[in-house]
Each structure stands twice: as structure tokens, then as C-alpha cells.
């Protein structure tokens, strides 16, 4: 490692319990600024739970999560968003009846600074800020190549496009840290390649730190700066992609213990 970067997101000893069941057990990891960090693991390993803890939808039973000096452990989701953390959901949580533009405009909520009285009059401040924001939204639409779907209700778009809108909406929040929960699930190869290109562009051009949950090992190993592996709510490995993929515990978690090894052990 060339230099130690100041870590941005710090997860320290987080335990999440649902009525006696530990979804997460003593998970600690750090996400340095500007990196793509992937969290992998078998289904039900607790990846999304961890993301929910970070983004404020769950509050961890024990442990601490900090981001740039802010304590996220007890913060509400909208407060976490205010700190500069945006999230794209695994199961599309878009406003289906609204158009793409309207969905993205919603993400500008915290960037608009006018009062309800300005809204009622819609003159001067409100009108001007709305126009500026529309311009911002259009830049994101440009960046995510959604121009032709701009005015369509999101519910009518193809699944792959909806996934892209989900990422675009998170990006419109102008975050410092972007949490992507399986942005490529259910996509074909071409769509995956597009999405990978977008993720790399987001990181390189805009300098946004990315936490990625993904099942496609090829993608994860290719684009990640750092990989963490969760299994049954416990962190079993973490490090550079090459180190992680060679880790015997990781191989065991994914493929199970080979039969002859079991036989030898028994």
C-alpha cells in the first residue's frame, strides 16, 4: 500500500439483532475516500442489513458507524442523506407514477432552499432555484444516458432502465458516498457493462466513494479497490480483490468444503 488515506466511512463493531437472531455480528470495516469498496457474501449474509444500518433504516444494536465526523448509529434516514450518503435500493424503490425527471427532482429536495411561502407565491427564489435544479437534473440525465426516457413514467420503463434511474436518482443527491445495493441484479451482459462503466465514471470523474453490493464476482474483482466478505453476519475476510479471492475461508463460504477434504477431516 502506497499511502494511508483518511478513512471516510467507519463501521466499528456493529451488531444487529432481530429478536435473538444476529443479522450482523461485530462487523468492523472502513471505506477510504474515493475508493470502490465491495461487500460480497452468500444470500442472507447480512449485506443489505449492513447497508440499512449505514443509511439509517436500521439502528445497530451495538457498535458505531461514523462518516466524516458524523455519528450515523442513531440517525434517521433523511439525516444520513443530509450528511452526503446516497443509496440506490436493491428492490427498486422509485416513485413509479412520476416521470424520470420528477424522480430526480425529488432527490434535489435538500439542495433547494426556499420556504413554504416562496412555494405558495412561486415567484423569484422558488422559480429561480427550480430552474437551476432542473438544469442540474438534466446534467445527471445526460451523464446516465437517460435522455430518451426523461418524460416517461418510471413504472412503464424496462427493468434495466429502472435500475439505472435508481442509480441516477441517488447520484442527483450529489453525495460524497454512494451505496449501491446490487445495481446489476437481473441484468444482461450488455446492461451490466453499461452499469460498470457508469460506476467507474461516477468514481473517477466525480470522485464519489462507492460501496457496492454485488453477486457477479467478475465485476467485483475487476472494479473494486477493496472487498469485504460477509457470511452469516460475520466479516470473514477483507482486503484487495486478489487477496480475498485466494482466502480459503471465502472459498469455503461460497463453495462449501470440498468433499474429499471433509472426508479427510472426518
Amino acid at each position: 500500500m502506497s499511502q494511508v488515506q483518511s478513512p471516510q466511512l467507519e463501521v466499528q463493531g456493529v451488531t444487529l439483532t432481530f429478536g435473538g437472531l444476529n443479522a450482523l455480528t461485530d462487523v468492523s470495516l472502513s471505506v477510504p475516500q474515493g475508493e470502490i469498496v465491495s461487500i460480497i457474501g452468500p444470500n442472507g449474509a447480512g449485506k443489505t442489513s449492513l447497508l440499512n444500518c449505514i443509511s439509517g433504516f436500521y439502528h445497530s444494536t451495538r457498535g458505531r458507524i461514523t462518516f466524516g465526523g458524523h455519528d450515523l448509529s442513531r440517525a434517521a434516514p433523511n439525516v444520513v442523506t443530509g450528511y452526503g450518503i446516497a443509496r440506490a435500493f436493491q428492490n427498486l424503490e422509485l416513485f413509479r407514477g412520476l416521470s424520470v425527471v420528477e424522480n430526480l427532482l425529488l432527490a434535489r429536495h435538500t439542495h433547494l432552499r426556499y420556504s413554504l411561502l416562496d412555494s405558495l407565491a412561486f415567484y423569484g427564489r422558488a422559480s429561480r432555484q427550480e430552474a437551476e435544479n432542473r438544469a442540474y437534473v438534466e446534467r445527471v440525465i445526460d451523464f446516465m444516458e437517460l435522455e430518451q426516457h426523461r418524460a416517461h413514467p418510471v413504472g412503464t420503463l424496462a427493468y434495466g432502465i429502472q435500475k439505472r434511474v435508481e442509480v441516477a436518482r441517488a447520484l442527483t443527491l450529489a453525495p460524497k458516498l454512494l451505496l449501491l445495493d446490487e445495481p446489476m441484479a437481473g441484468m444482461n451482459v450488455e446492461e451490466k457493462e453499461d452499469m460498470v462503466r457508469f460506476i467507474l465514471d461516477i468514481q473517477r470523474e466525480q470522485g464519489i466513494t462507492i460501496v457496492l453490493i454485488e453477486h457477479d464476482m467478475g465485476v467485483v474483482m475487476d472494479i473494486s479497490d477493496r472487498v469485504y466478505v460477509l457470511d452469516f453476519g460475520q466479516l470473514i475476510a477483507g482486503g484487495r480483490p486478489a487477496e480475498v479471492s485466494a482466502d480459503p475461508r471465502v472459498i469455503e463460504a461460497y463453495t462449501g468444503v470440498a468433499e474429499e477434504q471433509q472426508a479427510v477431516g472426518a
Binding site: 443509511s55 439509517g56 433504516f57 434517521a76 434516514p77 433523511n78 442523506t81 443530509g82 446516497a86 443509496r87 435500493f89 424503490e93 422509485l94 416513485f95 413509479r96 407514477g97 412520476l98 420528477e102 427532482l105 425529488l106 432527490a107 434535489r108 429536495h109 435538500t110 433547494l112 426556499y114 413554504l116 416562496d118 412555494s119 405558495l120 407565491a121 412561486f122 422558488a126 422559480s127 429561480r128 427550480e130 430552474a131 432542473r134 438544469a135 438534466e138 436518482r169 443527491l173
Partner: protein, 357 residues
């Protein structure tokens, strides 16, 4: 540039600010101005009894816009809108009789009182959703009626009469009461409608719709769902309070019966028939429900004149609630998007008529 700004069919906008406009073409803008102009002439041709109904429709329309804000746009079922109207009415009555304030101050005080109480009643919405919240607003309706009935200051629900108003030298009397109030209610309705239309194109309007559609995602967008819900209750009950203040003056007195549970249900019916979450629907709903009631009323008078019922039986007592209920059921079954959808479809038809492309 399009050939004409009145009939343009394409999108010729070059600035985002132009995209914010409410009306797509000058023709649409002009049609609204013409409509308001015609409405200004309406009292000159309408018979007096119908003018009274039109006034009532307009006041209910203000309350229904408010109900649409909480229930239609934000998705918080509110079965206490009449009680919020009542809060406004009583506040207006007290301001007018105890403080001797003129009507143009007393009615806004009614609105503010409604907003204040609405904000407080909206607090359960932080914890409750859907039907459970509806029951909480129903509880407020009951508490309101009981509370008024036990407060000597509010005449225990009996009549508190309001003074007649004087506008621009014209004194409202027994003979021109409906006429004068028509010209006072119409501008209030137009302004209240425009204000809400403005809010709809800003972050505040969007945040309410976001909370209705998906409050998890709304929170992830940095919107505080609790604040949005409280705001919806605050604005919605402000509209109810203004409507209540108008109704108090319009009825010349405040009586608890005007703000009972059945009125809340009626307002909800107006919102549903008009189309939940639609501004044109907020005008069409009250129009439909009041007109239906009057038509059924005169229809049963005709039935009575046929002498097929025993003497002393009025068909209206049965037919009015029956037709009211039937209308709601039929709308829920066949046109859940309400009259606003018919309005939308007919506009779409005329936009392309005869052969624009």
C-alpha cells in the same frame, strides 16, 4: 418559434423556466381567464336559490382542496375535515363577535386556527398509518363535537350569529346576501386554488407526493416524512379553516350541525368523486355531489306529487342518502380516478380536435 402560441402542439421551449409554467399554451391560459370572467357574470343570470347552492359548492371546494392535500396528495386518510372547518368557523365567529374584527381579518384567523389545530391533530401521523390514522382523525371529529357541545363560550353548539358585512359601500342584507358573498367567495377560491397549484410545482408539493408513493424512498431522498405529513395536515386544515370561516359568514351563524361527521364524510365523498389528488377534481367533486343532492331533491318532490306514497312520507329522506351512497360506490367501482379523469380525457380529445397532430 411555433406558428401560433395559441395552438402550438409541439414543445418549443428553450429554457427550463418556461417548463415551469402551469399552462402549456396561451389557449389554455385564456380559457381559464374566460371561465373566471363567465363565473363573474353568473350571479346576474342565476336564480337566487341556485346562487346559494353555487356559494356552498365553492366553499366546499376550498375545504376539498384542503382534504385533497392531506388525503389525495399525501395519502393520509382524514375523516375530520369538517371538524377543521368547524375550528375555523368558531375562531372566525369569536374574532368577529368578541374582538369585533372585520371579516377580512376574521376569516384568515379562522384559517390560522385551523392550521394550528391541524398541526396538533396531525402529530399521530408520525406513528400511525392508513386506517389507524383515519381513526385518529375520526376521534378528533368526535372530540371536537363533544368539546363544542360542552363549552359555554361556543354557545354549546347552538347558534352564534355573525354580523352582516359591508364591502366597498355595499352592505350585505337579507336580500343580496348570496349575491355579495358570491363575489367574496369566488376570489378566495381562485386564490386558494392558484396557491396550491404553485406549491405543486415546488419541492414542498413534490415531497408530499413522494411520502404518499413511497415514504422509505422519500426518506432516502433527504425528505423528513414526519415533517412532510405534519405540513400536509397544516396546509390541509388551513384550507378547511378558511372554508369554515367563509361558511360561518355565509350561513350568518355557526351551528355545530354544519361541521358534523356527516359533513366530513360528504367532503371525503366529494374528494373521491372528483378524483383524489387532483386540483380540477376538487372543484368538480363538490359540484357533482351538491348538484346530485338538489336533483334528487326536486325529483322526489315530483314523486311526492304523484301521490303514490302515503301522506307524510317524503321520498327525499330515503333517496338522498341512497343516491349519495350509490354515486360513491359506482365511482369507486368504475372510475376510481374520479371526474378529474373525465376532465382530462375530454381535454385530450379537444386538444386533437379536429385534426391537429
Amino acid at each position: 418559434m411555433p406558428a401560433s402560441r395559441f395552438t402550438q402542439t409541439g414543445n418549443y421551449r428553450t429554457k427550463y423556466q418556461q417548463d415551469q409554467t402551469i399552462f402549456a399554451t396561451y389557449a389554455e391560459q385564456l380559457s381559464l381567464i374566460v371561465l373566471i370572467g363567465l363565473l363573474l357574470l353568473l350571479p346576474l343570470i342565476l336564480p337566487k336559490t341556485m346562487l346559494r347552492d353555487v356559494n356552498m359548492i365553492m366553499i366546499y371546494a376550498v375545504a376539498v382542496i384542503g382534504l385533497n392535500i392531506t388525503t389525495g396528495y399525501t395519502g393520509l386518510i382524514n375523516i375530520g375535515q369538517a371538524a377543521f372547518m368547524g375550528v375555523g368557523a368558531y375562531a372566525t365567529a369569536l374574532a368577529a363577535t368578541r374582538l369585533n374584527l372585520p371579516f377580512f381579518l376574521a376569516i384568515p384567523i379562522g384559517g390560522l386556527a385551523g392550521a394550528l389545530v391541524g398541526t396538533f391533530v396531525g402529530l399521530p401521523s408520525l406513528r400511525l398509518k392508513y386506517l389507524y390514522l383515519a381513526v385518529a382523525t375520526l376521534a378528533f371529529q368526535i372530540i371536537f363535537e363533544w368539546g363544542v357541545g360542552h363549552t359555554p363560550l361556543l354557545a354549546q353548539g347552538g347558534a352564534i350569529s355573525l354580523p352582516q358585512v359591508q364591502v366597498l359601500g355595499v352592505k350585505a342584507t337579507f336580500f343580496n346576501h348570496n349575491f355579495v358573498w358570491y363575489y367574496l367567495i369566488l376570489p378566495v377560491l381562485v386564490v386558494m386554488g392558484l396557491l396550491w397549484r404553485n406549491v405543486l410545482r415546488t419541492k414542498h408539493g413534490r415531497s408530499l407526493i413522494a411520502v404518499r408513493d413511497n415514504d422509505r424512498a422519500a426518506a432516502a431522498m433527504g425528505i423528513n416524512p414526519g415533517t412532510a405529513k405534519i405540513m400536509a395536515f397544516m396546509i390541509g386544515s388551513f384550507y378547511a379553516g378558511i372554508a369554515g370561516g367563509l361558511f360561518a359568514y355565509f350561513q350568518k351563524a355557526v351551528v355545530i350541525e354544519d361541521y358534523g361527521l356527516h359533513i366530513s364524510i360528504q367532503l371525503l365523498a366529494m374528494a373521491i368523486v372528483g378524483g383524489l389528488g387532483s386540483l380540477p377534481g376538487s372543484f368538480l367533486g363538490p359540484l357533482f355531489i351538491v348538484a346530485l343532492d338538489r336533483i334528487v331533491g326536486s325529483g322526489s318532490q315530483w314523486l311526492g306529487s304523484l301521490n303514490i306514497f302515503p301522506a307524510g312520507v317524503d321520498a327525499a329522506t330515503a333517496l338522498r342518502p341512497l343516491s349519495f351512497g350509490l354515486a360513491i360506490v359506482l365511482f369507486l367501482m368504475f372510475e376510481p380516478r374520479g371526474l378529474a379523469n373525465w376532465w382530462r380525457l375530454s381535454r385530450l380529445y379537444f386538444k386533437k380536435w379536429p385534426y391537429k397532430f
